[in-house]
Symmetry: C2
């Protein structure tokens, strides 16, 4: 960084990215004329300014995403909303970094496919079509023949779980690029203009914490904060120490793709790709909890314009997620202390987008 930031040329593409990575172009949505028009339309007569608070901000964002000029703008329209849950395993689970066995990842995928997870009920209520993507589950995921499957499973396995990032990079740069491309590809083949992204994978909070810590300079103890008081002190301390060891092993990873490769996960990379693609198609992107948030950090690192399209649905129970949202300058719609992932918070927040639509129609 020899140049003063003020004089630095605006680069849409980080300079260290390999030529093999093909990213879609994303158009920023800023439009002050439209914002003014919306504000006029929303303000109830005789109400204080910004009476609708966070809802006004939401309406503004959705309107910017769905329109290009105040003249053309009509109303918000949501079509064929999609929920995509990316599942993958993490080698770091071997280090006892989660209270769950690694095999629970596949178990959770089964539950989703069979319609037994909480998010299935929400998807059904709200008319979201669910797609589960195997981004890299450690085992071969296959349902018994006779099982009544409720959602398709897309096989996009980049590997059988990432490698243990305490011992080496979680994945190669080529794998990271493949995962980003796969995420883009998944979105490209889905209909609609709204997409909610969820995650699933034992120990994926470890990657989220490391990514947040490295990309935003958040201390590991905050990024991997305790939220529940359930964990015993010494176990938590051991985990923090392992994270520090991992972070110092990968201390040379600074660029976003290096950070993703060395300390990320397949589902995180794919979600980042999905976000970039969805933004390039001007879809509304509902971002779920901490792990999806880490994917948003990666996507922002690859193209800052993506953030215009991201609606942060909720704040999860993780203290790291709070830090992440602050660094994204994102005000989540809900704060319900969820710790369940899989897009559950995104779908719980969905009715607020419908309400935003209704407020504008009134």
């Amino acid at each position: 960084m020899a140049l003063d930031p003020v004089f630095a040329p605006i680069t849409r593409r980080a300079p260290e990215l390999p030529a093999s990575l093909k990213l879609p172009a994303i158009k920023p949505t800023t439009d002050t004329l439209l914002e003014h028009a919306i504000q006029q339309r929303l303000a109830p007569a005789g109400a204080p300014e910004h009476a609708l608070g966070r809802m006004e901000v939401l309406v503004q964002q959705l309107a910017r995403i769905q329109s290009n000029s105040p003249l053309e703008f009509d109303l918000l329209a949501f079509e064929s909303p999609q929920l995509v849950v990316f599942a993958a395993d993490h080698g770091i689970a071997d280090e006892g970094m989660s209270d769950l066995e690694q095999s629970m990842t596949a178990e959770h995928v089964f539950q989703l496919l069979l319609g037994l997870a909480p998010v299935n009920a929400l998807a059904q209520t709200h008319g979201f079509e669910l797609t589960v993507v195997d981004a890299g589950v450690a085992t071969h995921v296959t349902l018994p023949e006779e099982a009544h499957r409720r959602a398709p499973l897309l096989p996009r396995k980049i590997g059988h779980g990432t490698r243990n990032l305490l011992l080496g990079p979680a994945m190669s740069q080529a794998q990271a690029v493949s995962a980003l491309h796969a995420g883009m590809d998944v979105v490209r083949h889905l209909p609609g203009n709204v997409i909610a992204l969820g995650d699933l994978g034992v120990a994926n909070h470890v990657s989220a914490s490391l990514l947040l810590s490295r990309l935003c300079g958040v201390p590991l103890a905050d990024a991997y904060g305790r939220d529940d008081g359930l964990l015993d002190d010494s176990l938590h301390q051991q985990r923090i120490e392992k994270l520090s060891t991992a972070a110092s092993r990968h201390r040379k990873a600074i660029g976003v793709l290096d950070v993703l490769s060395t300390m990320g996960g397949f589902e995180i990379a794919m979600m980042a790709g999905a976000m970039l693609q969805a933004a390039s198609e001007r879809r509304v992107v509902l971002v779920d909890g901490y792990v999806a948030g880490a994917a948003a950090l990666v996507a922002r690192g690859l193209n800052p314009a993506v953030t215009d399209y991201l609606v942060f649905a909720h704040r999860a129970a993780d203290t790291g997620h709070r830090m992440l949202l602050i660094h994204m300058q994102a005000l989540p719609l809900l704060d319900l202390g969820l710790r369940v992932g899989q897009g559950t918070g995104a779908l719980l927040a969905w009715p607020l987008l419908l309400a935003a639509q209704g407020l504008l129609e009134n």
Copy 2:
């Protein structure tokens, strides 16, 4: 308070209440067996404990309201949800305690009746039947003959606005009792098992602040806190001083009915009555913002069991509301910085109750 609280007899009825006040009996909903059954039913296999966070608490509360024993309990069922907005004027508006003219109360009533307020759109989306109650608007509220009315206006005027509480009690004790009874009566004649309560009235935040301050011992400067930075310092200081003068004039008001009479509002009294009646009928009560919250304080003062039935929908932008919720030990479902009243926050939160229903069905 001669007795140590531990040895004080549990009184369901504050001793100073006049015989003319007839309150309905309310059954507390505690049921640990049911809670255990629900927790078992909700917990996704292999998910951390309380993975659904605030949603689990909500499901538990709704289930307790709608059932008496785990054996009988089936599923949550919501019928004919009602939105009731209580409108009234406040004599204290004469003191320049609001940025709005008093005449805006009637104006807002018109907007609601004509379906032009933000909450109208939400009520329509969610199938809430709206009733507007004239609890004491200063003027005669009448719509032009040709106007297309969207909601009924119930005339339950206790007076043409309260008196200026800086000069004397806002209302007589007899008026307060009448208003409580009217609120009970309004609910008694409405169908369904869910009721959302909203408020409308210029300067009603003054009463809410004084009630919170007196009933919970919150300093006036916190109860009437600034939230927006829009108000100029000296004007805010003047308002706080007027509030202090009012509080000291009514320093002898300690009992809940005295506090309500001297510093409350007609719509606050009616909402409190409505809450008590709704709880006695085991309805779910959605409590909107700061002013409805002050009514909840009053209702709790009259019968603590009412709180089992109150679902605090959102935290408004007012800093006083934050204090109020803490004193009610209430965790609101939403925190969207609304400053619009009229039940808007309650209806924005409603889909979370539907989600709670869906989660239990899964």
